[in-house]
């Protein structure tokens, strides 16, 4: 029993150290020539442009939900709906825009990359890269790191703004606000700072995605089952890491409000 526990602790510490080494190596090799701008642009297109429709649809529905729920809570506690815009905008900008957007990106982009890199590993393309004298971390991880973190940042900013617009539309229909009164009720609760903070959150969540999917892709076992396992594991780990990181970042940002 103790041996099993020891083995488990040893393995988890080893994996953690390897994960952070991969992150540091990927980050540092961004600054080494060649920069491969074309590859970065291609990955950026995959992350930002192709995910944009799905992300925007999901995020605007969740904005509608937030308005309905906020109205319910406000009726429960203070019996009128004058604070609904501020409350909803706060929940949207501080939490939901960043988390929902990046969880979606994590399952779409992360699964795609893990499957791609895993099948490269299985068909020995990564060993071929090493033989040609190309460092696979530099070749595969660094462009994806830049593309994912900036792509997620822009997507989060856009989806925050879109969320606010949808919330405004729903509350003009359902609660009888006008656009002006919605904004003035909103501005007493949130400011531009909240949008900047959610963009920082998006940047950090985006950086998690390629590192995890490369981590599982590089150690993918042979065969179709190995690739499937790498994909599933990376989606799960990305989701957990995003939720945990969100907790940490919320704690850090709460000192600045």
């Amino acid at each position: 029993m103790i041996e099993v526990a020891n083995q488990w602790i040893y393995l988890s510490i080893k994996n953690l150290v390897e994960f952070f080494l991969l992150l540091i190596q990927g980050f540092l090799s961004i600054f080494i020539r060649p920069f491969r701008l074309k590859e970065i642009a291609k990955q950026f297109h995959f992350v930002a442009n192709e995910s944009a429709p799905i992300v925007f649809i999901c995020v605007s529905f969740s904005a509608g939900v937030v308005i309905v729920e906020a109205t319910f809570h406000m009726k429960l506690v203070i019996q009128n709906s004058s604070m609904v815009p501020g409350f909803a905008a706060m929940l949207i900008l501080r939490e939901l825009a960043a988390v929902v957007c990046c969880l979606l990106l994590g399952s779409r982009v992360g699964a795609g990359w893990a499957a791609e890199i895993g099948s490269m590993k299985v068909t020995e393309q990564i060993d071929a890269l090493k033989m040609l004298g190309i460092e696979p971390v530099k070749y595969l991880l660094s462009p994806r790191l830049i593309a994912a973190s900036f792509g997620a940042m822009f997507l989060v900013a856009l989806s925050g703004i879109l969320c606010i617009l949808v919330a405004m539309y729903v509350s003009t229909l359902k609660l009888g606000f006008t656009m002006g009164s919605f904004f003035s009720a909103m501005r007493s609760f949130v400011s531009m700072q909240d949008l900047y903070f959610s963009m920082i959150k998006g940047f950090c969540f985006g950086a998690v995605i390629p590192v995890v999917s490369c981590f599982y892709g590089f150690r993918c076992k042979a065969g179709a089952e190995g690739v499937g396992r790498a994909t599933t594991n990376s989606v799960v780990v990305i989701s957990i890491l995003i939720i945990m990181l969100d907790f940490l970042l919320s704690w850090i940002f709460s000192n600045f409000y």
Binding site: F61, E69, L76, L103, S107, A224, T231, T232, F247
Partner: protein, 256 residues
């Protein structure tokens, strides 16, 4: 236009699949032993991750509400407000997002591999119905297991919120718990359980459907897995909005 027709085709295929599953269950009966086995397997496999996710979601919501409630000087209401909004909306959504990666991807990969390696056709050749033998136990098992997982995750979120309230906003646990019953009413609990059930149904239906209809070698399995998690998430967000609106309308008509 092509996107629209594809979406409609997917929705139609899914509805026919679910209808067929129900008719098989009605005509040929359910194998209870297999269903229980699946419930147990899925539950054990994903309980640790779900519990962890629930714990952190509760913590995050408490953290955000602390800042807000402090400005009004009403820290006593913190527990009630944070728990109410976690249980009613944010908790089920985020935990179900987690589960779509864990259960959904796993099941569709498993069924897709069976489909691609022609094991499902082999079962049909032996004279048994693959829908009854393989798909139906998984479908029902995932519904029950993920319903229990979602509810368990919500309980963990109360503990996470309480811990965060003690550590971060400095109120004692009794004070945190005291206002939970005043703000979390019967209506909220019914709403939350309804939402958990709908989410569990969506999770189970999409992953079994995508796994069962996978085609085209190991690449097809990969496509099935990715599209499972993406489509599940879209459906979850849509159903979240839908259930909120429906239960809102229902309780305004009926009255609480």
């Amino acid at each position: 236009m092509k996107v629209l027709t594809n979406t409609l085709a997917e929705i139609g295929g899914l509805s026919v699949f679910v209808q067929e599953m129900f008719s098989v269950a009605y005509r040929k009966g359910i194998k209870q032993r297999d269903v229980l086995e699946q419930v147990w397997k899925v539950f054990i496999q994903s309980f640790p991750t779900t519990a962890m996710a629930g714990f952190f979601v509760g913590g995050i919501l408490t953290l955000q509400f602390t800042l807000q409630v402090k400005t009004f000087g009403a820290l006593g209401f913190l527990g009630g407000l944070a728990t109410s909004s976690t249980v009613r909306e944010v908790g089920p959504l985020l935990i179900a997002f987690m589960l779509s990666g864990k259960i959904g991807a796993f099941t569709s990969a498993e069924l897709g591999t069976m489909r691609v390696t022609e094991q499902i056709d082999a079962i049909r050749c032996l004279g048994a119905d693959p829908l009854q033998e393989i798909i139906l136990p998984r479908f029902l098992g995932i519904i029950f297991a993920s319903f229990f997982l979602l509810v368990g995750g919500l309980f963990m979120s109360i503990f996470g919120g309480m811990l965060m309230g003690v550590l971060f906003s400095g109120i004692n646990p009794e004070e945190y718990i005291r206002h939970i019953p005043t703000l979390v009413s019967k209506v909220s609990l019914i709403n939350s359980v309804f939402k958990c059930f709908v989410f569990a149904f969506v999770l189970a239906a999409i992953c079994t459907y995508k796994g069962y209809t996978a085609s085209g070698g190991s690449k097809g399995v990969g496509i099935a897995v990715v599209s499972t998690s993406v489509q599940t998430m879209i459906c979850l967000v849509f159903m979240d909005w839908f259930t909120s609106v429906i239960s809102d309308a229902f309780f305004t008509v009926v009255g609480s």
